[in-house]
Symmetry: C2
C-alpha cells in the first residue's frame, strides 16, 4: 500500500527533525513546522497509522515517535532530498585531495581521516584488487657491495621493490642472467604455481646469483598474495562517542569492536555489486552488533582491476543526504585522480614503496 502524500510529508519531517535533534518527535513539534497545515491531533492520528505500518516507533507511551529502520529505508529510497555541498565543503575536500598523495595506500587512509572529520563519524577506506595477479616483470639492480634492489612489477601495475643484503659477489653479467631466467620462468604465473620443482629448476639455471632466488621467490609470492588481499583503514572511531545513541558504553564498545579492519574487509561480499552507493540501515546489517547502526558505503573504480571503497559507520539517525553527497563527491574525485593516465604536473595515479 502506498503512503498518502500527507503521511510521507509527516514521515519526512520526523526523520529530518530526529536526525537533527536525536529526540523523539512529538505531534505538536510537527504541527509547529512551517508548511504543516494540520493540527497536532490530525498529525497524531497519522502518526498512529505510520506506527502501525511499521515506519515509526515509540520508545515509550508518553514519548514522541522516532523512525524505525523501515522508516529510514523509506526515507532514503523515496523522500531524501539531494544535499548540495556548500562551497566551503567542496573547497575543503578539494584541498585535501590536492595534498600530495605519495602512495595510494596513504591516500586512502588520508581520505578516510578526512571523511571521518567531515561527517563526524568513524570512517573506513579500503582497496581491493579484483583480478588474479601475476608477475609481469622482474628487475635486479646492484646497489652497494653485497646489496641488490629487486623490483617486481605485476599485471595490475603494482610495482614493489626490496633491498636484499647478501654477502655475495656477483658480476653484472650474473645479474643479467638471473633476471633473464626469472623473467622467462616465473612471469605470468599465479603464486600457486611456484612449486618447489619449478623453483628448483630456476635455481639450477640461475648461475652465480642463485643465492638470491629464495628471497626473490618469497618476495614475489608475498607480493602477489598481498595484492589479492584487501587493505582496510578505519579511522575516527572516537567520534562515535559524540553521538547520544552511543552514550551507553557497552553499546559503543560493541559497535567499535565490530568495525575493526577484519569485519570491514568482509563487507563488500554483502553488497550489491551493481549500485555504487549503498546504505545499510540498522538491521539490514547482518552482524548483530550493528543492528542499531547504519553503514553508508560507496565504491569507485581505480582501473587496473582495482576498486576502492569508502564509507562511514554511525547511528541509524544520520544525515543520509549529506553523507551520501559527500561520499559521492569524494569517490568521484578519487576515481578521477587514480584512473587517469599520468601527466606531468598531475598528482600521480601511482603508489610507491619504501625499502629499508
Amino acid at each position: 500500500m502506498e503512503l498518502s502524500e500527507r503521511k510521507q510529508k509527516i514521515l519526512k519531517v520526523i526523520v529530518d527533525l530526529y536526525v537533527r535533534t536525536a529526540e523523539p518527535v512529538g505531534s505538536k513539534t510537527i504541527a509547529a513546522q512551517p508548511d504543516m497545515d494540520y493540527s497536532s491531533a490530525t498529525i497524531r492520528n497519522e502518526m498512529a497509522e505510520l506506527t502501525n505500518l511499521g515506519y515509526l516507533e515509540q520508545p515509550h507511551t508518553s514519548a514522541g515517535r522516532i523512525p524505525s529502520a523501515a522508516g529510514y529505508r523509506f526515507y532514503i529510497d523515496r523522500l531524501m532530498q539531494d544535499y548540495r555541498l556548500t562551497t566551503d565543503e567542496t573547497q575543503s575536500i578539494n584541498q585535501a585531495m590536492e595534498l600530495r598523495m605519495q602512495e595510494f595506500d596513504r591516500a586512502m587512509s588520508q581520505v578516510g581521516k578526512l571523511i571521518s572529520q567531515l561527517t563526524n563519524l568513524p570512517a573506513y577506506a579500503m582497496t581491493a584488487h579484483t583480478g588474479g595477479t601475476t608477475v609481469k616483470r622482474f628487475e635486479i639492480l646492484p646497489a652497494d657491495r653485497g646489496s641488490f634492489i629487486l623490483v617486481v612489477m605485476t599485471t595490475d601495475d603494482t610495482v614493489r621493490n626490496k633491498l636484499i643484503k647478501l654477502p655475495l659477489q656477483v658480476t653484472d653479467g650474473d645479474l643479467k642472467l638471473l633476471s633473464a631466467v626469472l623473467n622467462a620462468s616465473l612471469t605470468e604465473l599465479p603464486a600457486e604455481s611456484f612449486t618447489p620443482e619449478l623453483i628448483d629448476r630456476v635455481t639450477r639455471s640461475a648461475g652465480a646469483a642463485a643465492g638470491l632466488i629464495p628471497i626473490i621467490v618469497d618476495f614475489a609470492t608475498q607480493m602477489l598474495e598481498q595484492c589479492s588481499r584487501a587493505q582496510v583503514y578505519v579511522t575516527g572511531q572516537n567520534r562515535l562517542l559524540g553521538h547520544p545513541e552511543y552514550q551507553d558504553l557497552t553499546k559503543a564498545q560493541q559497535v567499535l569492536g565490530a568495525i575493526d579492519e577484519e569485519t570491514i574487509s568482509n563487507l563488500p561480499a554483502k553488497l550489491d555489486p551493481k549500485s555504487p552507493m549503498q546504505i545499510l540501515v540498522g538491521p539490514e546489517n547482518v552482524s548483530r552488533e550493528l543492528k542499531d547502526t547504519s553503514v553508508v558505503v560507496t565504491r569507485f573504480d581505480i582501473g587496473e582491476g582495482m576498486q576502492g571503497m569508502i564509507g562511514v559507520v554511525g547511528p541509524q539517525r544520520m544525515d543520509y543526504a549529506q553523507i551520501t553527497a559527500r561520499l559521492s563527491y569524494f569517490a568521484e574525485g578519487l576515481g578521477r585522480m587514480f584512473s587517469k593516465p599520468e601527466l606531468p604536473g598531475t598528482p600521480a595515479k601511482a603508489e610507491e614503496n619504501t625499502e629499508d
Copy 2:
C-alpha cells in the same frame, strides 16, 4: 625522608590491589592480605601518614585510599617487581612476530595491534628517521610502452619506486643518459637544494627524456620529505572504554582525542633520549587532557639512522610491571628482527612498496 619498610609494603599492596580492582583500598582489606601482620588500625595510621606525604589520595572521607601520581611514581621506581612473561605470552608474541612482515610499516602497525590486544589498552607504534637523508642513487627502467619505473634509493637505505606513464618515445640510450645525469647532479643533496635553477640545468642536459624530470624531482622531494617525517599508528582506541576510569564519556573522548597520530608523533621530543623505557604517570604528561592518564613507551634502534617506538596509553592505574615487561620483549624482538643483516630465509629487514 625515606619511607619505612612498613610504609613501602603498605604502599605496594595498595597499588597492587588498586591496579587489580580499580576500587579504593581500605585498611581492613590490607590487613586481610597474607603476609600483613598488623591490625587495620595500625595500617590506618600508616595510611594517614602516607596520605600526608602525598603518596596516597582519598576520593572522599569514607572511602579507602588510592595511589596518587607520586605514589605510582614511587611504586614504579622502587617497589615494582619484575613481571615474568608466561610461556603463553611469549609464545603468542613470538608467533605474531613470525607472521611474515612484508613491510616495516605494516609490521609496526601489526605490532601495535598486538600490543593493544595483549594489554587491553590503546597502543601506538611509530618509526622515526633520525638523520638527514639524501638520494644515493636513481635508476630508471622502461616498463611497458610509455611507462617507466623510477627507482630511488636514499642514504638510509630506503628504496622507493614509482610507475610513470607518459606518452613519450625514448630509447634505452636516452634513459641511460637520463639516469647518468640524475645520478651526477641530484644525489647527495638534501631536498632543500633542489632549486629551480638546478632543475633547469639538469633538464637541459637530460636529452630526449627530459619530460620525465619534473616527475622525478617531485618524487624524490616527496620521498626525502617523507623519510624525515615520523610515521605513527594508533590502534585499539576502543579498549580504553573498557576501563572504569573512562566510563565518563567526556573524559574518554578527551583522551581519545588527545592520542591521535599528531599528538603521539610529538611525544618523542618530551622523552629522555637516554633511557629506552619510559613511563609518564598522569600529570607528568604535559598535555592537559592526559593528566589522569599514563603513557608507557619504549624505544628501539633499527639501524640505518632509524628508530622505532612502541607504547600504550591507559589509566594511571595500570599494571606497569606487566606492561613494561611485554613492551621490552616486543622491542627487543623487533630490534633484533630489523637490524640484522638479511639472510636467506630470514624475514627481511626491509620495506617495500606498491605502485599502481
